[in-house]
């Protein structure tokens, strides 16, 4: 297995010649894509941002193909991106309404699972718990996984800075609960290593890598043996935890052959001290988006999540988002979202107007980030005259609709890209009465998951949303 992929690596490296290594990254990619001459795979990105939106500045005023982008979505209305931009109005995160608890925690745990939270703890702080089942990104990744590729990558931007519990996680492996939370990696250097450590930068390095990989595999084998040796001697709960650890080691072993051929992008240059520094939020986000682009260009994975902060995140946007920050003492994202008022209020106070303005600007900034990511994908040549953006769908989600009332109706979902023609695009859809479970079924079907008819809590799932499927 390893020998074969190594052979491929060498052959292809020779084919592309030393030239490929020296070429700028995207050119090298283009060269390879043309060489492959096969249609590129469909891909999915889910982008999460915290604390909801400002509905009146988010929702376009008319439906259909000719809608005018709202103030928040304006950055996505560039000539390049507007044809790819769909707005999904009216979808409810119905599973989050099933069980009451802390507004942000409830939304976060239903966000990608389509289920009410589990392991309910009736605390003095109100009910809390964990995501109750596999999340849609993991479901799709597991269903479509390809040997030698990472099933998915989970990238974060300061998701571990404030909370280290169910507030911090959007993805879950099969089964859900604390032991199956899939943590987003906040460090671009780690993500880079995960993606590219098995990608040689030259033939000589390739031979050395082959030996290293063989050695790493032997170590993991040995460690797996240690897990086996103590199996059956602990209580059920402890044993389940060790079993999970052992199975993750086997997964890691299977991933050691990833990256059979690719031109390597430069290593991110963000040092550890900056990973949790508030003011580096934009720089880390950019590095993570660059890595998603590089991973797709090299076809190392086909499913990615990008998580900006945690539920009820307290990010301070003042250093890079222009607003009149001097007019209120509240600096933190979550605090600002509470200082606002629901869009339905007709005569907001001055303080509420100020908060609404800041929230609008914050969400507009996130739209600019999404535009950066999408533009990046549009620069990757997928062959046959297509770009990676043509073959990708990016879904933008949040754990609540709006900050002040923590509602789960009218979720601010934005969809960018057409997923290889499987989704309609460029339209503002009126999806009143639809659930996000149904949306996820549609995405899974568009990605090509076989026999995918239901997802999450069946109470909230009736099937795909035909209106958005091409």
């Amino acid at each position: 297995m390893i020998r074969n992929s190594q052979l491929n690596r060498r052959t292809l490296l020779r084919g592309a010649g030393g030239v490929a290594i020296g070429l700028p990254f995207l050119e090298a990619m283009a060269e390879r894509a043309h060489a492959a001459e096969t249609p590129r795979p469909k891909r999915l990105i889910i982008m999460y941002t915290s604390n909801g939106t400002v509905m009146k500045n988010w929702k376009p005023t008319s439906f259909g193909l000719d809608f005018t982008a709202s103030p928040i979505l304006a950055p996505l209305a560039t000539p390049l991106l507007r044809p790819h931009l769909s707005v999904l109005s009216g979808v409810a995160m119905a599973s989050a309404q099933k069980r009451s608890g802390n507004g942000h925690a409830v939304g976060m745990t239903s966000l990608l699972t389509g289920r009410p939270f589990t392991d309910v703890q009736a605390t003095k702080f109100g009910d809390v718990g964990w995501g109750a089942g596999i999340s849609i990104d993991q479901q799709i990744a597991q269903s479509l996984k390809v040997p030698g590729k990472l099933p998915s990558i989970e990238l974060g931007v300061q998701t571990q800075r404030e909370y280290r519990n169910f507030y911090s996680y959007i993805s879950y492996a099969e089964g859900g609960g604390a032991d199956h939370a899939v943590v987003s990696d906040d460090n671009p250097v780690n993500v880079f290593a995960r993606l590219f450590s098995n990608v040689p930068s030259s033939e000589q390095v390739g031979a050395e890598l082959e030996r290293t990989i063989r050695q790493r595999k032997s170590v993991l084998d040995f460690v797996a043996g240690d897990f086996k040796a103590i199996s059956g001697r602990l209580g059920a709960q402890d044993q389940a935890r060790l079993d999970q650890h052992a199975s993750l080691i086997r997964d890691l072993e299977g991933r050691l052959a990833v990256g059979s051929f690719c031109a390597k992008p430069p290593t991110p240059t963000i040092d550890q001290a900056r990973i949790e520094r508030n003011d580096d939020f934009p720089a880390i986000g950019k590095a993570q988006m660059d890595l998603i682009g590089a991973a797709f260009a090299c076809d190392l994975t086909r499913v990615a999540t990008l998580q900006w902060g945690t539920a009820q995140a307290g990010t301070v946007f003042e250093p890079w988002v222009k607003a009149n920050w001097a007019d209120s003492p509240e600096k933190y994202h979550h605090g600002i979202s509470h200082a606002a008022c629901p869009s339905s209020v007709n005569s907001p106070t001055a303080a509420q107007l100020s908060a609404l303005d800041k929230l609008t600007r914050i969400n507009t900034w996130f739209a600019e980030q999404l535009a950066y990511l999408a533009t990046k994908l549009s620069a990757i040549d997928d062959g046959n005259g297509q770009t990676a953006l043509d073959n990708t769908a990016i879904l933008w989600v949040s754990e609540i609709s709006e900050g002040p009332d923590h509602k789960y109706t009218n979720m601010p979902y934005v969809l960018l890209g057409g997923m290889g023609g499987a989704l309609k695009k460029g339209e503002h859809f009126n999806l009143d009465g639809q659930t996000h479970n149904n949306l996820f079924v549609s995405l899974g079907q568009a990605m090509g998951v076989p026999n995918f008819t239901t997802f999450g809590d069946p109470e909230f799932c009736t099937g795909p949303i035909d209106a958005i499927l091409a």
Binding site: N102, T123, V219, I230, L234, L252, G335
Partner: protein, 586 residues
């Protein structure tokens, strides 16, 4: 936490008061019956006189009321062990991992700081349930192990403790395997284990040569569950129902990770090997030794860093541009030095922690406070104005953390006292409440504005409990420095403490802290917090006896935290766990 305005709650289960709160009279009777001559008293008495070093605590104990428990299921202090609580499997925290590889390999690079953070439980990072498992986590273990192995084998003779060119590679490898894995796994290898490791070594040497084979051994050890987890199989404990007593090796790890945050040192491993942790006296003697050693400072500092949330100082946003990461470091260091000096070198009492009219500063920190005295970078004891300062609560670390960017936060300060000192947290505000602060009104103090904002229903239900203890600290600004007035307006730091066992009026923070010092609820809360930290889990029904024992030790030593720490190693909760599968010695 960076989102202080609303529901930045500490995640946790509702707190049930320790049993002795509910049965205070019973405990008092028990104390009288025992004549308060337990080992803790002996040690506490000796220590309070200031003449006996901590190490003597163990000596005192052997003549005290401790019963040995070889084969008899009776814990020290007469606690009968009928059944033991489940002790969930603990994985090394990032902090423990870093300490352990520093002790094991001499590596000071803190590789685990890059690992996924633990999930907070009750405000602590070391709860068994907080160890997150995820694909990234396993990758991080693998990567760190590879890097550590590479660095260790770069200094091969030092790692091996053997000259492979003179003595032969395989001879050195044999010695290395026994010595290294004993320390990495924190116990001696069994014969099948040893032969499996030898096979692995031979195969790796064939494949990539001697140096790589040693490197591979180190990497494998660091990823093994026997290194990463604190595996406890226990030994049969006659007379119990479903309980096992921990082996000497397992107790050595419990002692060492509790009191030094790291693997056992050579002396402790030696004691374990000779089964010299079989009685509570032996355990206590080692505990006292570890706590007095230099590494003993780690546990005290780590506990209070987490309890006070000092890690959050680095990330604070403050309008005052003079507040920097360097300031944060100084503030954290002040509180850490203070608690360590009081608990390990001083009288160790809760009362001193809350009321001491002194602290520890270096030149830069003194400059921050606008004080004089220290002349260089070293932290030295500094006498403070007792009309202003009182123990760790009035240190800038806590006061600055419990504040907003441009003003102090009475709510956060009151919340801290409720949660962390009284163990009586309040629920977060309802979701639909507008919890933002009013814009600053230069004509009114922050107190007046907050009182107006939270005075009505439904806010006042909780805020009558939260605001007063917070208002007591009005004299400390958002950087934690003493202030005489609130932007020119007169301050009012008085109030009424309600809903506690020490209710009463207070004039200011000095008064309030005196009230809290007399509170049995506060002392019980210290025990609860240390229980959770030490055992990595919450209290269970089966812990009633252990909790009583700890409370008694703490009460009878006059609220001495050092004695409480030693007592933590003497309970059934420390020495026993539930039996799982019929086990053989590993």
């Amino acid at each position: 936490m960076a989102a202080p305005s609303t529901s930045d709650f500490a995640f946790g289960k509702p707190l049930s008061l320790p049993r002795h709160r509910r049965h205070g009279a019973w405990i008092l009777a028990a104390l009288l019956a025992l004549g308060c001559t337990g080992f803790i008293d002996g040690a506490g008495g000796a220590d309070a006189s200031g003449t006996a070093p901590l190490g003597n605590a163990a000596g005192a104990s052997s003549s005290g009321a401790v019963s040995g428990i070889g084969g008899v299921a009776v814990g020290p202090d007469g606690c009968e062990v009928t059944s033991a609580p489940a002790a969930p499997l603990r994985r090394l925290t990032r902090w423990e991992y870093d300490n352990t590889v520093a002790d094991l390999l001499g590596d000071e690079s803190h590789p685990a700081q890059r690992f996924v953070a633990e999930a907070d439980q009750f405000g602590f990072d070391n709860n068994a349930a907080g160890a997150v498992l995820s694909p990234v986590v396993v990758e991080q273990f693998e990567e760190a192990a590879g890097v550590l192995a590479k660095q260790a084998t770069a200094q091969m003779p030092k790692l091996l403790g053997c000259d492979s060119s003179a003595q032969g590679e395989d001879v050195c490898a044999n010695q290395f395997i026994d010595a290294f894995f004993r320390r990495a796994y924190r116990r001696a290898l069994s014969p099948p284990e040893r032969s499996r490791i030898h096979d692995f070594y031979r195969q790796a040497k064939l494949d990539s040569g001697f140096e790589q084979a040693i490197s591979v051994l180190v990497s494998a050890a660091l990823q093994s569950p026997k290194f990463l987890y604190r595996l406890e199989f226990g030994m049969p404990a006659p007379g119990t129902t479903g309980a096992v007593r921990l082996s000497s090796w397992e107790l050595a790890s419990r002692l060492s990770y509790l009191l030094t945050g790291s693997m056992p040192d050579d002396e402790l491993l030696g004691a374990a090997e000779q089964n010299l942790l079989a009685t509570s006296e032996q355990v206590l003697a080692q505990a006292a030794r570890l706590l007095t050693s230099d590494r003993g400072a780690r546990v005290v500092k780590n506990f209070y860093r987490q309890w006070a949330g000092l890690n959050d100082l680095t990330d604070l946003q403050r309008k005052d541009a003079s507040y920097s990461a360097a300031t944060a470091q100084l503030l954290a260091q002040e509180t850490e030095t203070f608690v360590d000096q009081v608990i390990r070198a001083g009288d160790g009492t809760l009362s001193t922690l809350l009321t001491a009219p002194y602290s520890y500063m270096n030149r830069d920190l003194a400059t921050f406070y606008g004080m004089q005295g220290p002349t260089d970078e070293r932290f030295v004891k500094v006498a403070l104005d007792p009309q202003r300062y009182s123990g760790l609560m009035t240190q800038a670390g806590l006061m600055a953390r419990l504040a907003h960017p441009g003003q102090p936060s009475p709510v956060l300060r009151g919340k801290f006292i409720r949660e962390k000192l009284l163990c009586a947290p309040l629920p977060p505000p309802p979701n639909n409440v507008d919890a933002t602060l009013p814009p600053l009104d230069p004509q009114a103090t922050a107190r007046q504005q907050l009182t107006q904002k939270t005075g009505g229903s439904p806010c006042n239900t909780c805020h009558t409990l939260l605001n007063p203890p917070g208002f007591a600290f009005e004299h400390f600004d958002e950087l934690g420095r003493f202030r005489a007035n609130d932007h020119g307006l007169a301050l009012d730091a008085s109030g009424d403490l309600t809903g506690t066992d020490a209710d009463g009026p207070f004039a200011d923070h000095l008064d309030l802290l005196k009230l809290l010092t007399q509170s049995e609820q506060v002392r019980a809360c210290v025990v609860v917090n240390w229980f959770r930290y030490a055992y990595g889990r919450d209290q269970a029904e089966a812990d009633a006896c252990s909790t009583q024992q700890l409370s008694r030790a703490f009460e009878s030593s006059g609220g001495n935290v050092k004695q409480l720490l030693l007592a933590l190693t003497q309970t059934p909760a420390f020495m026993y766990r539930t039996a799982t599968a019929p086990g053989v010695q590993p």
